[in-house]
């Protein structure tokens, strides 16, 4: 059971990274990025292609892929998202949703739907003795990276001026502009950063999960549930909910296997009945 709990935390590590990116993007731009899963998939494929065609190893991909995807995200924001932002939010829903389908099918056309192999980095191929049980070193690494990245983002958000501006712009964009902050200038890097986090999660997923064009679409539905449970716009909530949902669904898998696919959504419904704004959401954020 402890081992299953640990599996859950590792799964939660992915939810947390993806939900964190979604939350900062939603907070700052008011855009629900349906393409988030596609960028996660591109992260995994990016590291696969880099290794397969260019011989770039996992460690380099871990830095390179998020960087490139983050840059692609900033271009996307500048060219499309920014222009659609003043219109009805539906336009950006449709745009990011369409983009996800396009990216998915482009990859599908090139590589088919079968999974591509990606070896574990040699350094992390063994197991780690966690006291009560041995555990694959790679999974421990994934969990550690996710925790460190989430903690680092938290420190930046709560302790730096940039973080203060992001928090202020997330809570009251208009007021923040009226207090002399050029909110628009921060929107592009925040979007790029959110995309880079999705890419990072993808790179981390490549050696332990099936690398295929649909991997993002499968995962992102759960991540949306995670963000809603944590509270839309609450950055802390989405990370906490990410790890918690990973844990709960892994344990659910163990005790009630029949519910494994639906448990998250049952939880979401229950949380929404109890707290309509999510666990850490602010009620007024709804209005």
């Amino acid at each position: 059971m402890l081992q299953q709990a640990f599996n859950g935390l590792v799964g939660g590590a992915f939810y947390a990274l993806l939900a964190l990116g979604l939350a900062v993007i939603f907070g700052m731009l008011g855009v629900v990025n349906f393409a988030h899963g596609a960028f996660y998939m591109l992260g995994a494929f990016g590291s696969y292609v880099l290794l397969d065609s260019f011989g770039v190893n996992f460690w380099a991909a871990l830095v390179l892929v998020p960087l490139l995807l983050g840059l692609a995200g900033t271009v996307l924001e500048r060219l499309f998202i920014r222009r659609l932002a003043p219109l009805d939010p539906l336009y950006n829903f449709l745009f990011t949703f369409g983009l996800a389908l396009i990216l998915q099918d482009l990859v599908k056309r090139e590589y088919g739907v079968q999974s591509q192999p990606y070896p574990r980095p040699g350094l992390l191929s063994g197991t780690v003795d966690l006291g009560l049980f041995g555990y694959p070193a790679y999974q421990v690494f994934v969990l550690a990276v996710s925790v460190v990245v989430c903690a680092a983002v938290w420190v930046v958000l709560t302790r730096t001026r940039v973080g203060m501006i992001v928090r202020a712009a997330t809570e009251r964009p208009d007021l923040t502009r009226a207090l002399g902050i050029d909110v628009g200038r921060w929107v592009t890097p925040v979007f790029g950063f959110g995309i880079a986090l999705a890419g990072l999660a993808g790179v981390l997923a490549a050696p332990m999960r099936a690398v295929n064009p649909l991997m993002g679409a499968d995962l992102i539905i759960t991540v949306f549930a995670v963000v809603v449970i944590g509270g839309l716009g609450s950055i802390f909530g989405s990370v906490a909910a990410g790890f918690a949902i990973g844990l709960v669904s892994a344990l659910g898998n163990l005790y009630v296997p029949a519910l494994s696919q639906t448990l998250v959504f049952i939880l979401m419904a229950a949380v929404l009945l109890w707290r309509p704004a999510g666990l850490f959401g602010r009620e007024e954020a709804l209005s």
């Binding site: 202020a168 208009d174 007021l175 009226a178 050029d182």
Partner: protein, 238 residues
Amino acid sequence: MPATDSGPILSVTGLSAWYGEAQVLREVSIEVGQGEIVTLVGRNGAGKTTLLRCLMGLQGRYSGGIAFLGSDIVRLPAHRRARMGLGYVPDDRGVYSTLTVEENLTLPPAAGPDPWPLARVYETFPRLKERRSFPGTKLSGGEQQMLALARVLRMGARLLLCDEPTEGLSPLIVGQIGDILREVKRQGTTVLLIEQNVHFAATVADRHYLLAEGRVVESLRNDEMREREHELLDYLGI
């Protein structure tokens, strides 16, 4: 008489504004002299808040002229206007719940010749110092209003745009706000104030504009306002 030495610091000409199809401001023209405290008085829905939003660059659709410090600012985005020295105190006080009291104070960049150092802010508002690490919205209503005022003073704003700072506050706090506005005036800062409390307005302001249905219907000096206070109270239905 108002302390106007040079030209007006703010001059609004023929300002009209709409929410969708509904026109809420009709050809409003007002002037505010350097160092004056001027109030906008009128019933709810008269267009006072919309006027401030236009000045700040937050109103979607409007036309007309706005000159601040002698230059046309109609095309400037909100953050550029703030950096020129417009200090906005919105009607809901605009205190951030995700920022501490001190972060609320230090968020805006300095935007004028005379930004208050944090030490002076805390000397003037000791309560904010005590609660500097609390989330902004954990303060009482009066304290939040002080915070919103202190924030634009720390910016060093040249012209404060205050949207009903006394609304819903106890007479004691209203008195304190009056003291602060008078001190602000002494240091040469200009204030454009929305106020439904005619009695309070008459204790701080030099001049008043009376707004009704999106128009300026009267412009009064403070002595005229005092003479007609009861008539105006009836008119406002307060």
